[in-house]
């Protein structure tokens, strides 16, 4: 803001102000177009269902929560309570798994000059670019052979094995910045690697770990393909699968309820983003996480 003020003082000419105004008008209209669909979805979720699709305005004269009540109980015998619980279990465990396993691997890559490190690090980086479709079918056959289909295990176990290399990379970048002297002091005090890792590295890396945790949650929460393949019985569905089922079966045309549940399904993601905004945006700037 202070730089803005300085620049303004220097350029208080008419063309300058005109250009600024022009830019602001452009940005505001672009931003409005960008968020309009989201606002419309929100308005529609609170509108009486029979007006759901005929209204385009964002103004809801008589907001109702009826859509939420209906949507919550709408699909099958389970209802969205179960789907949300499933999603929270899967995403919660994905967070724990990703953070733990990726931090362990990142510590090795960033702080331990072990033999073969460069070789493995190169392979790890290589897996970032690998399209998941190459792994999809054999993984499915493997998990099917283990009897894991229609359980959460295929969605969770890989996360405990540091398979999302983006997070390893993110944490490596961060761990490398921790000053050598700090861990050196730990060594002189007689700490082994496990203790240095737990007592020094992890506490000093809370921002990076939080970034990884938040992205991990959001990706897992939004994931559609894997639950689609692995979850077969309705009581195991996660929210995205339930929503897509809802669309296909909505000859019922209860659009209000559909929008209400769609809106609810976005809230955890938006909540995580707002809570960790700065960390997430920094994380993207440095590593290109989505």
């Amino acid at each position: 803001m202070t730089t803005t003020a300085l620049v303004r003082r220097r350029h208080r000419t008419v063309p300058y102000i005109a250009r600024r105004t022009f830019i602001h008008v452009g940005l505001v209209s672009a931003a409005f177009v960008m968020v309009y669909p989201l606002l419309w979805m929100t308005a529609t979720a609170f509108r009486p269902s029979e007006q759901a699709l005929i209204e385009d305005s964002l103004w809801v004269p008589q907001p109702t929560v009826e859509n939420f009540v209906q949507g919550w109980n709408a699909v099958g015998q389970s209802g969205f309570g179960v789907f949300f619980l499933n999603s929270f279990i899967v995403a919660g465990l994905a967070v724990i798994g990703n953070v733990l396993s990726c931090a362990l691997a990142a510590y090795a890559f960033a702080r331990l000059p072990f033999r073969g490190r460069k070789f493995w690090f190169g392979l790890m980086i290589g897996t970032i670019m690998l399209p998941i479709h190459v792994l999809l079918i054999p993984q499915y056959l493997l998990f099917n052979a283990l009897g894991w289909v229609d359980t959460f295990l295929p969605l969770i176990v890989p996360k405990f094995l540091a398979t999302e290399a983006f997070f390893v990379f993110l944490l490596v970048q961060f761990f490398r910045l921790i000053p050598r002297e700090i861990t050196e002091a730990g060594r002189i005090d007689g700490c082994g690697h496990p203790r240095i890792f737990i007592r020094l590295i992890l506490p000093l890396s809370v921002p990076a770990l939080t970034t990884a945790a938040a992205f991990s949650f959001i990706w897992s929460w939004n994931d559609f393909l894997h639950p689609l393949i692995y979850l077969t019985s309705q009581s195991n569905y996660t929210v995205p699968i339930a929503l897509s089922l809802f669309v296909d079966s909505s000859g019922t045309s209860n659009y209000g309820a559909l929008f209400a549940m769609s809106l609810l399904s976005l809230l955890p993601v938006i909540g995580f983003f707002l809570a960790f905004q700065k960390l997430l945006l920094d994380g993207i700037s440095t590593t290109g996480l989505k």
């Binding site: 940005l27 669909p37 699709l53 005929i54 060594r187 690697h193 897509s244 769609s262 700037s285």
Partner: protein, 331 residues
Amino acid sequence: MIDTHGHAAAESARSETSGASGRPRRRDRPPRSAWTESQRTTAAGYAFLTPWLIGFFGVTLLPMLASLVLSFTNFSGSFRTVQWIGFENYRLMFTVDPAYWQSVRVTFTYVLVSVPIMLIFALTVATLLNKGIAMLGLYRTIFYVPSLLGTSVAIAVLWRFIWGETGLLNNVLDLFGIVGRSWIGHPDTALLTIMVLNVWTFGSPMIIFLAGLRQVPAELYEAAALDGAGRRKRFWHITLPSISPVILFNGILAVIGGFQAFTQVYVVSGGTGGPAGSTLFYTLLLYQRAFGELRFGYASAMAWVLLLIIGAATAAVFASGRYWVYYGDER
């Protein structure tokens, strides 16, 4: 790269004992005193790397190789009937299956059209935001949130209603007296709606561009301004070359992501790739062949060709970078 063997030498002998004391070890090892410092570090390195190694071999490398092997078979879920059929899957794909080429066309159109547009949007908005604009944080948030939600089913559901026959877009067009149609239901425009969805998620590359723009040294602009270079000249001759590595990076990320688009297409087209195959993305056809028709061998072949396509596209973008990416030497 930061670690050196000098560090390894500084590690005290006590350290490993305290960490390992009382813990069962996976394999027998010689008495601790016989270990050199670097051996100890190596042991610790592999111990920390164990979960990743299991994941790398079990969930990544072996499945990858299995997928390659499967692609030469007619595997359909039963090991009793499986046969080695050589390149038959690839032959079918390239010379017989019209759906395959349709999916290639759709996917390439999507990537070649929507990725550049998305990047241009991202760069334009990032440039505007970089001018010390007020409320930068708010703009950043508003532009970024769609890319966070873009791959969710909820947004795909919303898209179906925005671009539908009686959807939001047509209602807006109505105000201008334009008669719309079901954009999603028409083969000519269905793909367009998914491309718009992709462009809508320009926030994530925008954030990366913003970070890049901040690195451009202000002296360059000042010097150019003294030389009388106008706004446009400065953009073309300073901004663009300075952030060309970031453009390359964003381009590669977007291309890799673009080839793998799935959720939006699946939900918008109800899993069919319709109307008339106009949204039959590569990944959707692969999914149908594998999990709809249980043609795991064929789908594996498709997956390997996708891997090669993505590899080739990435390499091509990289190689083109020789001509337009500028890594400043004097910085």
